[in-house]
C-alpha cells in the first residue's frame, strides 16, 4: 500500500515536472536536482542519525522503499518544480502563491509519510518541526537556484 501510494505520488510529480514551462537549461536542472538531493539527504541523515528527531522506519523494506522514493525523488523533484516556477514568474503575488502551494503539497506528503509510519518524530513539536524542515529546504533550494543561474557560461574548472 505504502509503496503503491508513494510510487503514484512520484508519478504525479514527474508528470507535473514535464508540463511545467522551463526557463532553466537542462544542465541547470540536472545540477539543481543533484544539489537538492544532496541537501535533502544530508538534512534527513543529520535529523535521523545524529539528532534522532525524524527517524525512518528501518524494519520494513516496503516502508524503506517508500521512504527512499520520498527522499530521493518526490522532495527534490518538487523543489525543481518550485524553482522553475519562481524563475518563470515576475509577479510577487504569483511567487507567493506558488511558495504557499508547493509548501502545502510537501507538508501534506510529509504528514502522509508520518501517518503511514514511514517516518517517526521524537518530539512533541511534530507539526512545527515538519514545517520548519520543509521551509528550510525550500529556502535552500531557492538560494541554490539563484547561485546556479548566476554562474558564468564560459569554460572553466
Amino acid at each position: 500500500m505504502a509503496v503503491a501510494l508513494f510510487v503514484f505520488i512520484a508519478w504525479v510529480i514527474i508528470s507535473v515536472y514535464f508540463f511545467v514551462p522551463k526557463r532553466l537549461s537542462t544542465e541547470e536542472i540536472i545540477l539543481l536536482f543533484f544539489l537538492f538531493t544532496i541537501i535533502t539527504i544530508n538534512i534527513f541523515v543529520i535529523l535521523d542519525f545524529n539528532l534522532k528527531l525524524i527517524q525512518h522506519n528501518n524494519k520494513s523494506p516496503k516502508l524503506f522503499i517508500s521512504f527512499w522514493i520520498h527522499r530521493n525523488i518526490i522532495i527534490p523533484l518538487t523543489l525543481i518544480i518550485f524553482v522553475n516556477f519562481m524563475n518563470n514568474f515576475k509577479s510577487k503575488i504569483k511567487k507567493f502563491i506558488t511558495t504557499v502551494l508547493v509548501f502545502s503539497i510537501l507538508y501534506l506528503i510529509n504528514l502522509l509519510a508520518f501517518g503511514i509510519g514511514l517516518l517517526t518524530y521524537s518530539t512533541n513539536l511534530f507539526y512545527l518541526g515538519s514545517a520548519i524542515f520543509l521551509a528550510a529546504l525550500m529556502l535552500l533550494a531557492f538560494l541554490t537556484m539563484k547561485l546556479v543561474t548566476k554562474l558564468p557560461e564560459g569554460k572553466s574548472m
Binding site: 544542465e27 541547470e28 540536472i30 543533484f34 544532496i38 534527513f44 541523515v45 523494506p61 557560461e153 574548472m157
Partner: protein, 165 residues
Amino acid sequence: MDIVYDQKFNSNEWFVIITLIIGVILVWKLPKRFSIKQSLVYFIGFVFFGLVFDSTVGIEPFDYYDVIDKSSYELMDFVSYLSYGPFGYLFIYFYDYFKIKNKYNTIYVLLWTIISVVTEYFAHAFGVFHYKNGYEIYYSFPIYLLILMSYLGLYKLLNSKKANK
C-alpha cells in the same frame, strides 16, 4: 546505538583529504573541455550518486557499511563524498578527450569499474569503509557498473542537447 571505530585523526581521514586534494588539483590543472555548469554537473553528479547509494545500502534495513570513524554522520563523511567528485569528472573528461567511440563504451566503463573497485579496496584498507552484515567488496562491482553507465548516459544527454542548439 552508535558504533565507534576510532576517534583519532588518522589514516582514513588522511586518505580522504589527500585523494580529494589530488583530485581537485587534477580537475583544476587539466585543459578545460566543458562549460562551468557542465563541469559542475560531472563533479557534483558523482557526489550525488555516492551519497544516494551510501544512504541507501549503508543505512538500515540494509546497513552494509559505515564510513570513516563512526556509524553516525560526521563532517568527514561528507568530505569523503566530496572526494568522489573528481573521479566522476575525470571519467567523463577522458571519455571526451580520447573521443571514445560507442563500440568501446563497454570496455571503457569496465576499465573504470575496475579502477573504482581498486580505489575502494585501498579506501577500505585505510579504514574509510567498514563493511558490515556480510558485505564484500565485489558487491560494489555492479553498483559502480550501474553508476558509470548512467554517467555516460548523462554525458550523451548533455552533448545531444548541446549539438541540437
